[in-house]
């Protein structure tokens, strides 16, 4: 019988090369992610708006990403967090993507890897969101103020939201955190404590007159945001 039907080209150095097996390297998200990643409602972790969608950037019939379908209203204090993403020349970055990951109001993550029975899960809160910056470099989310979660040893972390920054010119995810200026435990937070004191402010959101929490993300240069090596 002929092997013609199953004949494959000779193997080569590529994704299937056993000698190269290891982490798939990161690449930039590029400038054109808006029709592929930010689903409608991605930036609204509370309600059922289409916040996070960018319908002005491409024709409506190419919006194949759905609207979030929340199951109900999460418990806790509703907050808005926002800020500008700036580059090393102080210019707004109009094509960055920001993701957030956070605990619910009681300090529990909606994740199978947070198995603490003593802290109540919130069936209506996932805690993951995605937004992109506008022409002015501003990102914006509506969410719940998170509770405190444990840190290493017997420590307790101050309330915080984990942020990921992606963009054209960003070859791998930049990981940072947002803390609250009035957050309980900021002074003893095990992660903030590892950050040089003069740079801690880059992680601490301040309250604006309209009640929203504001944190600029400076990718490079003066006032550079602290990014983490996890």
């Amino acid at each position: 019988m002929s092997d013609l039907e199953s004949r494959n080209p000779a193997s080569r150095a590529d994704n299937q090369d056993a000698a190269l097996f290891g982490q798939t390297p990161s690449q930039t998200v590029g400038p054109f992610f808006h029709y592929g990643l930010p689903w409608k409602g991605g930036a609204d972790l509370i309600g059922k708006s289409d916040m996070g969608a960018r319908p002005e950037l491409f024709p409506e019939d190419h919006y194949v990403l759905n609207l979030s379908s929340p199951t109900g209203t999460p418990t806790g204090e509703a907050i808005e967090i926002a800020g500008r993403v700036l580059d090393g020349a102080g210019e707004a970055v109009p094509d960055a993507m920001i993701e957030i990951w956070q605990a619910n109001a009681a300090g529990r993550y909606a994740s199978p890897d947070d198995a603490r029975d003593e802290v109540a899960p919130d069936p209506h809160f996932v805690g993951f969101g995605r937004a992109s910056t506008g022409e002015d470099g501003v990102y914006r989310f509506r969410t719940i103020r998170p509770g405190r979660v444990p840190g290493p040893g017997n420590s307790l972390q101050a309330p915080h939201i984990a942020l990921s920054v992606f963009g054209r010119g960003v070859l791998k995810r930049l990981a940072t955190r947002l803390y609250f200026s009035d957050g309980e435990g900021n002074d003893f937070d095990p992660v903030l404590g590892l950050v040089p004191e003069e740079r801690r402010d880059t992680l601490i959101a301040t309250r604006r007159a309209d009640g929203s929490w504001w944190l600029d993300i400076i990718l490079s240069g003066e006032g550079e945001t602290v990014f983490f090596d996890l």
Binding site: N15, P25, F32, Y35, F58, W101, L171, R173
Partner: protein, 235 residues
């Protein structure tokens, strides 16, 4: 928390954040060293099993989203999502976006003078099965020029985004095709040092190819795995 294990750090294949040949990295990458932190509950958890609720149902065939068929070479892309110990990563989402066969994105800011295809959006989403397998159908994207330098062309690529089990495993990457001469001279692909760059090149496979229908390519995606250091010791 004592039985939780931390996820691995970047391995030797990770690109640097600043790679001056890729010009826009210069003002968009940190100039100060990253601050090493222990992985806490925040970093080792992540959303799971909520993809439909967040993003809607799967879109595994990018060639059937409109009334007609898109132009271009129909292809199947399949493989496994694995961790570094070759364990499958089940029920995890892969988001997909790409240019059309002419190398043009439907994005309004794409100024490349190649035709749009009314039958092709180029956005999809799949979830791995219990064994970490995924599969999607699309058309092979074209190469396109970009403004990095005079006569700069991106090799044909498919953008992929994975969350994996935790904040620590988040990955955005690009899949390239075998025998594309542009890979070797592309500053974005080149940010990944050799030989690891080849991890981003899929393999043509006649076993995936379907007679009279579509060419098949295999591409496994490897996420950071949990190493042997318990969280408490790292701290």
């Amino acid at each position: 928390m004592t039985d939780s294990l931390a996820y691995a750090h970047d391995d030797a294949g990770a690109p640097p954040s600043r790679f001056p040949d890729y010009r826009s990295t210069v003002l968009r990458s940190p100039s100060l060293p990253l601050v090493r932190i222990p992985q806490t509950l925040t970093e080792v958890t992540g959303p799971a099993g909520c993809w439909d609720r967040l993003m809607g149902s799967a879109l595994a065939d990018l060639t059937t989203q409109h009334e007609g068929a898109p132009l271009g070479q129909r292809i199947i892309v399949t493989g496994h999502v694995l961790d570094e110990a070759r364990r499958p990563v089940p029920h995890t989402v892969i988001e997909i976006w790409q240019a059309n066969a002419a190398g043009r994105y439907i994005h309004g800011k794409d100024q490349w003078d190649a035709p749009l295809d009314p039958h092709f959006t180029g956005a999809g989403r799949v979830v791995t099965d219990g064994e970490g397998r995924y599969r999607f159908v699309t058309i092979r994207p074209g190469a396109y020029p970009w403004g990095n330098h005079r006569n700069a062309w991106r090799p044909a690529h498919i953008h992929l985004s994975l969350l994996g089990p935790a904040y620590a495993t988040r990955l955005v990457t690009q899949l390239y095709f075998p025998d594309d001469p542009l890979i070797e001279i592309d500053p974005i692909a080149n940010a990944v040092p050799m030989p690891y760059r080849d991890r981003l090149v899929c393999r043509f496979d006649i076993g995936i190819t379907e007679p009279n229908w579509a060419l098949g390519y295999r591409f496994d995606i490897v996420l950071k795995g949990r190493d042997a250091t318990p969280l408490e010791e790292e701290a």
